[in-house]
Subunit: 215 residues, 2 copies
């Protein structure tokens, strides 16, 4: 088998592609590095010239998966959109990519999600990074007077609760018909217009005149 | 093995309990009726005296799982609470039971969820029933002026999107720390206060003065 031995990155890519083929064909469980190496015509000890450890290999695979998604988050956060639009773009642009990946190859998508669950210690950093960027956007919204009565951590938790079908890939797959960009916009608008501390209502559990009836 | 041969229902219960033990021990995949029968000291042909088919057996197991949950839905819908409180109780009371079942035996809970995924044709009717009851409550809310500009089907879809961590057991398990009764109340309030059609905002994508700034 011919391979560009002088190109370290090309071989790394080739090994990751081979792993992807195996995950697609057999699922995520018990992916074997020696089989990945063999598929590229190399021994397991040669494999370690390209990835220092099994963990480094999965980190590189995850890095490839998240590269475009992270770039979107950075761009959206750095943009001068108003916070409401930023939050919409933050989810809409990434869910569009995830959905396209799912539709292009549902089996591979599902297997990659299982791979992520199996290597949660690698994925966790990406999830924390997304929470960090989301907190930046929600903090900007709070500086403009949104979500009065709530602290930032709570707003981050509440936002994560209501946007699950637009960020959790397992829920996205289940709700592919209703988790549309139009409905995401409505959910974000509902959050921005409706998340206002109503301490009396929480305390006594009574119904309260809706805000719009007052306006 | 002694069994109350004169008690048809008791033997049905015994067979369902045996199935539950097997699902707990080995997961939901490929549950074998002959093994369930053997665990209760009977042949597979005797088994069919108690359940007409494999499908009837799974329907009975699902019926047992959903009995209390369906009763809650009926009670809440029939109550004279205001719609906002009804919707809160509709989710809060059922998620409390699901959470208690999960915490009592996480392995069994997860295995039962997998069993449900495997027999989705049985579960589907229960999910549709829950949607029906939810639509009744949301329709009452609309009759009081909530969710202006939306039709009932759309409000049902949107509600399902934002309450996933409080009704989808897989999401509930993932978000057990933040899917609290307090946060459910906030999510329901956010829906009731914030879901108002904002056609200009949707059309031009511009930021819009929040409603509370007008009030």
């Amino acid at each position: 088998m011919s391979r560009p031995l002088n190109d370290h990155d090309a071989i790394r890519t080739q090994l990751m592609d081979a792993a992807e083929d195996m995950v697609r064909a057999r699922g995520a469980i018990n992916l074997s590095l020696s089989e990945v190496a063999a598929a590229c015509g190399m021994s397991q000890s040669s494999f370690y010239r390209y990835f220092a450890s099994k963990e480094a290999f999965f980190e590189a695979i995850a890095g490839r998966w998240f590269e475009e998604l992270n770039q979107i988050m950075e761009e959206v956060v750095a943009s001068d959109l108003p916070p409401r639009e930023k939050l919409y773009e933050f989810f809409a642009r990434r869910v569009a990519i995830k959905r396209a990946r799912f539709e292009a190859d549902p089996v591979l998508f599902k297997a990659n999600m299982d791979l992520g669950e199996e290597h949660w210690e690698v994925i966790r950093g990406y999830v924390d990074l997304a929470d960090h960027y989301m907190a930046v956007i929600l903090g900007e919204a709070m500086a403009e007077g949104y979500f009065p009565g709530y602290d930032l951590d709570h707003v981050v938790s509440l936002t994560n609760l209501i946007v699950q079908p637009f960020c959790n890939p397992f829920v996205m797959m289940d709700m592919i018909r209703t988790a549309t960009p139009e409905n995401l916009r409505i959910v974000i608008n509902t959050l921005f217009d409706g998340l206002v501390a109503r301490q009396t209502a929480v305390a006594d559990g009574a119904n309260v005149t809706p805000l719009r009836a007052i306006s």
